[in-house]
Symmetry: C2
Subunit: 414 residues, 2 copies
């Protein structure tokens, strides 16, 4: 008799974003006259056109596929050298990362989920609260948790509470903590809170990981939005990180690749984990094998498009996109501040994290914003119980929409 | 202390195709004067240009991404409706499959590997020998096997031996067999042997699966190469398969998408497996959740290109590609037969499966073909110990190369 992975049955009913989509659909069907007014600041999806440098490179790659002499079939599973080298030259030039430590993929969501394939059972998983739900759900699927309690917290996970007091930057567990983390998910600039970590904060995490033989899974998908030159863009700016961290990055939020699909993970060859017999095994070797066996390389035209992000023209166009979205973030942040709301993020990140007014819960605020202002935000509690009482506004939108959202916020709350 | 998945350490040193690449590289470096003569019939990669209908659709999709009004960000994780519907209309019109039973992905290698996420531990896995190595290796990684013996056979797997006597079509285990299969990997037209299963043979498998509450993982990646109208193209042509089978298909080998990346799996909503408590759980629901959480949809221009495979122009162009490759297969098959070799496949599949002459082992034949004729084939033993003494020739090549390979074979063996 074929059996299923019963860990899936522990998952809470709805992944956050499908639940948002469901409520928006229900509202639209009940209020067809309001459908045209809806502005979506919920899911963190880009809205502006794909840069012309990227489009031109993709067009050229497709033309290559039309000629037998330049046709490309299966590419290297780990990605084409031209892209891996461009990434290292442009993103890791002074950080001691080599091109063969970069693995190209079709998305960071895939990478951060699939990475669990190479880890053992019984690791203590440290997860911030609030958190990007994929980290939690993939650990549930992998059997790394027990059941969820009524607040949605899973037994067995080590939750790192983020709150106003710590500025939504997770603190290193105290030496007296009853559990030591083995795998630590960190995301900076943070989704959903927009928080960034200082060099000193990241140094503390690297020191903790090294002291406990733990591994940091560092999600830097929003790195391009960092404005402050003092804030590290990569975990590999921290000494010793090569021995205790891997880093996930993406073309989704800088190059606008959410629909095109390209990302990468950097796994230093010096990063190891323990086998059942205590032998130190390079994670690079394991991921290389996983990638070769369960993946077949990212689409060739997509990889050519990604490489064009690093052309002179591409860099200029990406800079303009970042400037556009960060201008939006500033407007949203300032509008919320002017209303006396509690505001985090929006300075080095495209997300503004806002305290709900009048003691509303996150979903109450979601329903109020949708019902009274036709603005879709993301309820903070969807990212974990510590997110209750907050909501996230995404700066990924047109300027006109953002200005309109600011106006509606003022009408709604003032 | 972070631990790794020690099951990876059970994997044999080299995945077959990297080992072939290594030997070809070593030969080329040692014999630079022969490098230009090498003809690759090893890896099953297409060689002919991407159809113009596909390229035009992809170009148009990229142009859409350049305009804010038509820009597409994140798409549905399960794939765009336009593609799912086109697949059903063109591939499953009379087989009772609906569009929401189709899940689009970036490749069948990914799908056939990742599908294990939704199954429980302890299932008895039936694998043909010889076999596409991905089925085996992903089960090793998932902890569904013990160690490999000296011949490369993993403890715990239920091997279904394919050989000349059964025409390389796996037989249903006898009722007296000491183990019953829970998950059964079948691939028709077969990679590597080119064998196809008759309706009666597939009916026997469906009957076995239903009798034992097993699930058939049916890999139909080479379906487009079936010439014989009596041979089923889909497992869903067999009555009852909706309750015991899922089917993997790809655009790689018909549309030439090996470098573009698009595939799909069909999971009927009536297909269930047992939970730990014996509850019947639809696999569709589990894969939908897996796909939503660990995947973010295939690239939009790629999906538009895939849909163009089903346009009138696209169908005509794909038919020409199939005709080209099957013409190659016929030439290779006939050349081998004329040399008195034992030959399977090549009639309804792009692979010709040939007995090695003079008692050579598969790798001896590989080295002889490379060293004396500069032709790269695939050693049969790389697909499992029952493949020893055979080699695979791929028909994916230009006509000129295939004619040249036929000539060189005659010189080498005659």
């Amino acid at each position: 008799m074929a059996t299923i992975n019963s860990n899936f049955l522990k998952l809470k009913a709805g992944y956050l974003f499908p639940e948002i989509a469901r409520r928006v659909k229900a509202y639209t069907e009940a209020n067809p006259d309001k459908a045209g007014r809806i502005i979506r600041c919920g899911i963190g999806d880009v809205t502006e056109p794909l840069p012309s440098a990227v489009r031109e490179a993709m067009h050229a790659a497709i033309d290559e596929q039309g000629d037998r002499a330049t046709f490309k079939g299966y590419g290297p599973e780990q990605g084409y050298e031209f892209l891996r080298q461009a990434i290292v030259d442009n993103q890791y030039a002074s950080l001691g990362i080599s091109a063969d430590e970069v693995f190209i993929s079709d998305g960071s969501k895939c990478d951060t989920g699939n990475i669990l394939d190479i880890f053992g059972k019984g690791n203590v998983i440290a997860i911030t609260d609030p958190v990007y739900p994929v980290y939690v759900d993939t650990n549930v699927m992998a059997g790394n948790t027990g059941d969820a309690d009524e607040k949605g917290a899973y037994a067995g996970l080590l939750y790192l509470e983020c709150n106003a007091a710590n500025g939504f930057v997770a603190e290193v567990p105290s030496e007296k903590a009853d559990k030591k983390a083995d795998l630590i998910y960190l995301c900076f600039p943070n989704n959903p809170t927009g928080a960034v970590a200082t060099r000193a904060q990241l140094e503390a995490w690297v020191a903790y990981a090294k002291a406990n033989d733990a591994i940091i899974l560092f999600d830097a998908a929003y790195e391009a939005f960092i404005q402050d030159p003092e804030i590290p863009r990569s975990i590999f700016e921290i000494e010793g990180a090569r021995d205790c961290a891997m880093e996930f990055r993406s073309f989704s939020k800088n190059g606008g690749f959410t629909g095109i699909r390209c990302a990468y993970v950097v796994i230093p060859k010096t990063l190891t984990g323990a086998s059942d017999t205590g032998e130190r095994i390079p994670l690079h070797q394991l991921w290389s094998r996983r990638h070769s066996t369960k993946f077949n390389g990212a689409s060739y035209p997509v990889q050519k498009g990604a490489a064009a992000v690093f052309s002179e023209e591409g860099k200029q166009q990406v800079a303009e996109l970042i400037e556009h979205y960060m201008g939006n973030a500033k407007l949203l942040r300032e509008a919320c501040l002017s209303l006396g709301l509690e505001v985090f993020g929006g300075i080095n990140a495209p997300y503004v994290w806002v305290g709900c007014p009048d003691g509303l819960t996150s979903w109450e605020m979601f329903d109020k914003m949708l019902g009274e202002a036709q603005v879709v935000i993301t309820p903070g509690s969807g990212f974990g119980s510590a997110g209750e009482g907050y909501f996230r506004i995404s700066a990924f939108n047109s300027r006109a929409n953002v200005l309109e959202v600011c106006e509606r916020l003022k009408t709604l709350i003032a």
